[in-house]
Amino acid sequence: MNNNRVRMLFVTLAAVLILSFAAGAAAKNPFPSKPIRIINYVAPGGLMDVTTRKFTDVASKYTDAVFVVENRTGAGGLIGAEYVLGQPADGYTIFAPTTSVVVQVVATGSDVDKYIWGFDWVSMLMKDPECIISNVKLPIHDWADIVKDAKAKGGDQIWVGPSTGGNDHLMAMKVWDKAGISAMWIPFESGPKAMAALMGGQGVAYVGNPADTTGRPDLIVCAVSSDERLPQYPDAPTFKELGVPDLDDEIMWRGFSVKKGTPPEAVAWLQDLVEKVANDPEWKTFFEEQAIEVVAYRTDEFTGIVKKNVEDAEKYFKQFGIIK
C-alpha cells in the first residue's frame, strides 16, 4: 500500500518533470514561432511599402515564417518608430525605415537617443544614389547652366522636392554648399507632386533618385552622386566629373531596425534571411533596373552609416537655420 503510494508519487513527479521539460523545449523553439510584423512608416504604395511587400514576397522562397506588413504613417516616420519602441523587444516587430526617418528626427528636433539610438540598426537592404533631376523641356537643364543661373539669381533659383527637413532637402543643402551656390527649397507633399511641379516649370531642379525619371520622359538625371557613372544611366554625369567635390557616396538607404535589446538569435535570423533575399535574382534585378545597389549590411556597417547621417543632418540643418 505504502509502496504503491510512493510509486504513484514517483510517477506523478516524473510526469510533471517530463511535461515541464517538454514545455521548456517548446518555449525554446527556434525563432520565429509566430507571425512577424514589419512596420512601415509610409502609406501603402510608397517606396518603402513597395520594398517591404516585395521583400516578404521574395523571402517566402526561403522561409515559412509569416510576415505581416503594417502601415503606421505620420510625422515623417516618428509615429511608426514610436509604435515599434512601444512593442516588446522580441524580434516580432521590425521597423522599416529609410534615411529620411533618421534625418527627419534631427530636423524636427526630436529625441535622437530615443528615436534613433533606441533601435538596433540590424540590416541595410540597399543603396539608392541621390541625384539632381532636371526637365529637358526647360531652357536650363544641364548642371553647368543650373550653376550659372543660380549665381545670376543670387539665391532666388527654385528647387523643388519632398518635405522640408527630409533626406532630399539635406542633399540639396550639401550640393549648394559644395558647389558654392544658393537656391530656394520649395517643398511639396510628396516626391511625385514635386516632380509634377518640375514638369510644369515651377523650378529648375528636383532632388531624388535616378529611378524617379523612369516613365517620365521629360525628366533627366543631370548630376548623380556616385563614384562612377551608373550603367543604367550612362548619360548622367557624376558630381566628380562636374567638378563638385565630396559628393560621391550620398545615398538613400532602406533597411530594417529592431528595438534595442532584441535577442541576438532573432537578429541573426533576420540578417541571414536578408542575405538570402539579397542574393535572390528576382530581388536583385527588380532593384538593379532602378540603379539601386542591393546590399546586406549588418549591424556594424549600418550603424556607422546612420551615425554619419545624424552628424550630417545636424551640421547642415544648423548651417541653414532649420534647427538651432
Partner: protein, 494 residues
C-alpha cells in the same frame, strides 16, 4: 480609331469567366472597403495588392482598378444610411443622403447615389480615354497660385451654405481653417500647437475627425431628442425605389457633377472631396429650390456621388500621361504596377498598350458590374434604416470607434473622434452648421501651403500674376458676392 480597336479587343478579352470573376470580386471588395469607415479606398486597394502577386499584370490591374472604382461608391452607403461617410469624399453625399433616409426615402437616396456613381464613373473614363493628353498639359499649368485660388473658390461656396445664419456659417468655416493650423508646418517644419505630442505632428487625422463631427454628433443629438417610450418601430415598412423616369430627371445634375469631378480630379493637389463640394455648390445655385438642399434633395446626392466617382477617371489622367498619381489610390495602383515591373507614365502607351486598354476596358465594365451588384446590394443596405433606433445608435457609436481605430490602429484617433463628436454636438446645439467646418478642414492646408509656395516663388502679388489664378479668384468673388446681393435684394423687396 486605333484606340477604339484596342479598347474593343481588350473588352473582348475580359468577356470570359475568369476576368469577369476577378472583376466582380474586385467590385465587391471595393464596395465593402469603401463602406467601412476607417478603410479608405487607398488602404483597401493596398491591402489587396499582395493577392495580385500571383496574377498576371492585366488581371492584377483589372482587379485593383475595379476595386478603386467600387470603393469610391461604397463610401456613400454608410453616408446615406447612418450619416457616417465611409470615405472622405462621401461627406457631401451625407449632407442630403442622410436627411432623405431619415424621412424614409433611403431607397431613393441609395438608388441616386449608385446611378450617379455609375454615370460619373463612365463619364470620367470616357474623358480619360479621349482627352488625357490635353488635360495633362492643363494639370501642369496649375502652379501653387492656381491651387490657392481653387481653394478660395472652394471656400467661397460657404456663401451659399449659410442661409439665414451667414455669421455662424463664417465662424464655423474659420474654426475649420484654424484646426488645419495644428501640426508640423509643411513649408518650414515649425511645429504649431503640437505641445511636443508626436500624434499632433501631422494635425488631426481626417477620417476620425469626420466620423466624430458627422456621425457621433448626430447620435448625441438624436439621443437627446429621443423618446424611448414613444418610438418603437423606426423607419417605413416598405422601401420605395426610384423609377427610370426619376433618374432621367436628374440627368443634368449627374452630367454636371461628372464633368466637375473629372476636371478637378486631374489636379494631383486637389482631389475628390473638393470636387464634391464644388459640384454640390453648383447644383444648389442651379436649383430652383436651393433652400431645400441639406434637407434631403436627390440633386445634392447626385452632385456629390457623380463628382466623386468621376474623379477616378480624372485621377488616372496624370498617372497615365505624366507618371504622377492624381490621388492616394492612384498612387497605390502605381505601386502595384511597379511591383509587376510596369512603369506607369507616357511610355506605357508605347511599351505595353494592351495594359492601358485593359485598364480602360476593365473600368468601363466594372461600372456595369457595379450597377448590377449595387442594385442588389442596396436591397440589403436599406435594412439598416429599419433597425430600431435604440439598437442602431449604440451600433453607430461602436462603428465610429472601430472605424477611427482602424485608420492607424491608434487609440489617439479614437479620442480625436470622440472629441470632435462632442464639438460637433455643441456646435449643432447652438445652430452652427457643420458643413462649413468640414469645408474649412478640407481646404485649409491646401490654401495655406499653396499661398506660401506661390509667395516664395513670385513675391507678395504672386496670385495676381498668373491669368489662371486671377480667373479663379474672379469666379470665387462672384460666387461669394452673388448670393449675398440676392439676399439683400430679396430683403429690400420684402
Amino acid at each position: 480609331m486605333q484606340d477604339l480597336i484596342g479598347l474593343l479587343k481588350a473588352a473582348g478579352s475580359l468577356m470570359s469567366l475568369q476576368p469577369l470573376f476577378v472583376l466582380s470580386m474586385g467590385t465587391v471588395l471595393g464596395i465593402l472597403a469603401g463602406a467601412m469607415p476607417g478603410v479608405s479606398p487607398s488602404m483597401g486597394v493596398a491591402l489587396m495588392v499582395p493577392f495580385t502577386y500571383a496574377m498576371n499584370p492585366s488581371m492584377a490591374l483589372v482587379f485593383l482598378s475595379a476595386m478603386y472604382l467600387a470603393a469610391n461608391y461604397g463610401g456613400s452607403i454608410t453616408a446615406v444610411t447612418i450619416n457616417t461617410p465611409g470615405t472622405p469624399s462621401a461627406v457631401v453625399t451625407a449632407f442630403d443622403g442622410y436627411p432623405m433616409a431619415k424621412k424614409g426615402r433611403a431607397g431613393e437616396a441609395l438608388g441616386v447615389s449608385l446611378v450617379a456613381s455609375v454615370v460619373g464613373g463612365v463619364v470620367g473614363i470616357i474623358v480619360l480615354i479621349l482627352f488625357s493628353g490635353p488635360l495633362a498639359r492643363l494639370a501642369l499649368k496649375f502652379w501653387p497660385a492656381e491651387y490657392f485660388s481653387l481653394a478660395v473658390l472652394g471656400l467661397s461656396t460657404i456663401a451659399s451654405m449659410g442661409g439665414q445664419n451667414a455669421m455662424k456659417c463664417a465662424i464655423s468655416a474659420v474654426l475649420g481653417l484654424l484646426i488645419c493650423t495644428i501640426g508640423m508646418d509643411s513649408i518650414l517644419g515649425v511645429s504649431r500647437f503640437t505641445f511636443g505630442n508626436v500624434n499632433l505632428f501631422d494635425g488631426f487625422e481626417f477620417i476620425p475627425m469626420l466620423i466624430g463631427l458627422l456621425a457621433l454628433s448626430e447620435v448625441f443629438t438624436e439621443v437627446e431628442k429621443f423618446n424611448f417610450a414613444a418610438e418603437s418601430v423606426a423607419g417605413s415598412a416598405k422601401a420605395k425605389w426610384p423609377s427610370l423616369g426619376y433618374y432621367w430627371k436628374l440627368r443634368m445634375s449627374m452630367l454636371r457633377a461628372s464633368l466637375i469631378g473629372t476636371i478637378v480630379g486631374i489636379f494631383p493637389g486637389a482631389g475628390a472631396t473638393i470636387a464634391t463640394f464644388i459640384s454640390y455648390d453648383v447644383e444648389k445655385r442651379v436649383s430652383r429650390t436651393p433652400e431645400e438642399f441639406g434637407e434631403g434633395m436627390p440633386e445634392g446626392v447626385a452632385a456629390a456621388e457623380g463628382a466623386n466617382s468621376a474623379s477616378v477617371g480624372g485621377a488616372l489622367v496624370p498617372m497615365l500621361t505624366l507618371g504622377i498619381p492624381g490621388s492616394a489610390t492612384a498612387a497605390v495602383l502605381m505601386g502595384a504596377l511597379m511591383i509587376h515591373n510596369l512603369q506607369p507614365g507616357p511610355e506605357l502607351f508605347v511599351k505595353s498598350p494592351e495594359i492601358v486598354y485593359t485598364l480602360f476596358a476593365s473600368l468601363l465594365i466594372a461600372n456595369i458590374v457595379l450597377l448590377i451588384l449595387g442594385l442588389a446590394g442596396s436591397r440589403l443596405w436599406i435594412n439598416v434604416t429599419r433597425v430600431r433606433k435604440e439598437i442602431l445608435f449604440p451600433l453607430i457609436f461602436a462603428f465610429a470607434m472601430i472605424g477611427s481605430y482602424a485608420v492607424n490602429s491608434s487609440m489617439w484617433d479614437v479620442m480625436v473622434c470622440l472629441g470632435f463628436g462632442i464639438l460637433g454636438y455643441i456646435l449643432k446645439r447652438y445652430g452652427y452648421p457643420l458643413p462649413p467646418l468640414v469645408l474649412g478642414v478640407v481646404l485649409g492646408e491646401m490654401a495655406e501651403v499653396n499661398l506660401r509656395r506661390a509667395v516664395m516663388m513670385a513675391g507678395p502679388t504672386a496670385i495676381f500674376q498668373r491669368p489662371g489664378s486671377v480667373a479663379l479668384l474672379v469666379i470665387a468673388a462672384l460666387s461669394f458676392a452673388i448670393p449675398m446681393l440676392q439676399a439683400r435684394k430679396a430683403k429690400q423687396r420684402a
